[in-house]
């Protein structure tokens, strides 16, 4: 069991370190996220009163679109340098590779969220930091769902010829429940609701996370084996 966690840790560490050195993924995702914030700003009049109602939607559209950029790159470096063969040859459980890649994606998306939320607060004039503990819980659950499913589907899309466009086509329809729940819970919290009032949505995300992480974990072997 200890060995299992060591494997996961080793892969996560390797991914984070190589990302930290190249800064390819996180920097491009942050720029993209901020661009989405800016572009949405043109869809309504300055100072319009309905901004508070639609801003959770904008926030999540930005994060869901931008996380696609990161998820697309999950298996690309492994494939380019044929490292995936190395991973497959090493005597480790395929599920551990899946969990490690998923955790790596969660780390990257969380870095992006952490860096872009202050920008959102300034641009949309909503003090998100007042509700931070509750929001962290919501963000954690939603991002776990996005990365859990996204990692498996990314392993699927990386073998296709049109891989960049394939991932969103596969991922977005499946992710509809998470998208809805993220927006609903975020707007609920920003309106000052307690966790009890949005509990049905939280339960939905938890159910989604458990079901799809388990299914992806069990089927991941079929997606990467030759």
């Amino acid at each position: 069991m200890k060995n299992y966690f060591n494997v996961i840790w080793a892969i996560v560490y390797k991914d984070v370190i190589s990302e930290f050195r190249s800064k390819e993924t996180v920097s491009s995702i942050i720029i993209f996220t901020i661009l989405v914030f800016v572009i949405f700003n043109f869809t309504f009049e300055p100072g319009a009163s309905y901004i508070n109602e639609i801003s959770p939607g904008i926030l999540w559209v930005a994060y869901i679109f931008s996380s696609i950029l990161g998820l697309n790159r999950t298996f690309l470096p492994e494939r380019e340098n044929n490292c995936i063969s190395g991973l497959m040859l090493s005597p480790i459980d395929r599920g551990a590779i899946y969990l490690a890649k998923m955790i790596g994606n969660m780390v990257f998306i969380f870095i992006v969220v952490g860096l872009s939320l202050p920008v959102f607060t300034v641009f949309y004039n909503i003090n998100i930091f007042l509700f931070l503990p509750k929001l962290i819980l919501i963000f954690f659950l939603s991002i776990a769902g996005i990365s859990g499913l996204g990692t498996a589907l990314s392993a699927m899309a990386v073998n296709t010829r049109t891989r960049e466009i394939m991932l969103p086509i596969l991922l977005f329809p499946i992710m509809v429940p998470v998208i809805l729940a993220s927006v609903k819970t975020t707007s609920g919290i920003l309106e000052g609701k307690t966790l009890e009032e949005i509990t049905s949505w939280i339960k939905l995300v938890i159910a989604f996370d458990i079901i799809f992480i388990v299914v992806s974990y069990l089927t991941f072997e079929y997606l990467i084996e030759e």
Binding site: L149, A152, L153, M156, N159, T160, R161, T162, M166, I169, L170, F172, P173, I174, V176, P177, L180, A181, K184, S200, W201, L204, A207, F208, I211, F212, V215, S216, T219, Y222, L223, E225, E226
Partner: protein, 224 residues
Amino acid sequence: MLNKYFYRLYLFLLGVTFVTIEASLYYIFILSPVEETMGIIQKIFYFHVASAWLSFFSFFIVFISSIIFLWKKEKIWDIVAHSSAEIGIIFCTIVLITGPIWARPIWNAWWSWDARLTTTLVLWMIYMAYIFIRPFTENEVKGAKASAVFGIIGFIDVPIVYMSIRWWRTIHPQAVIASKKGGLDPVMLKTLIISIIGFTFLYLSVIILNVSIDLIKDELENKK
């Protein structure tokens, strides 16, 4: 040998399909009464509901055969899953087209983001993605495995989508659909059942044809 068997089964199913579809058309257009409030447009209901049933049924077959394919690794189950998904997509498209045609005069809108409508649209998108995986995958074996995994994930997602969209709509209430159940004329109910049976036989005969064509293609590919 296999193909001969398929051919006989296909001819039999085709015969049954012909008879049941004819019977359902006779029931729909001649025997069943014209609905009082909706008028003649209500008759689209028989095609609509039968297609909806078929699309769910064929996606269920995709789910089952995907599991069997990953378990047994026999190619036939991959072929069955794909054939079924193709048919399911066609009937799902028919549902999405006949729905708005009915809705325009009845609801005075082509589309409402009602739970059932939204789920059907999401279902359609999931299986379009499913159809895309195999032709775009570089390696055929990988494509088959990937689409089998997606066939499982996609089917599990449908009830979750349905639930979430219902919650979403209870928060934004709306003037909703006329209840389709209750007070359905017995002749209408009979017509509906006959058309569902006819469509199911249509599905069976098309899938037999589809699978046998794919088996022949596969054989040809191996002989090259």
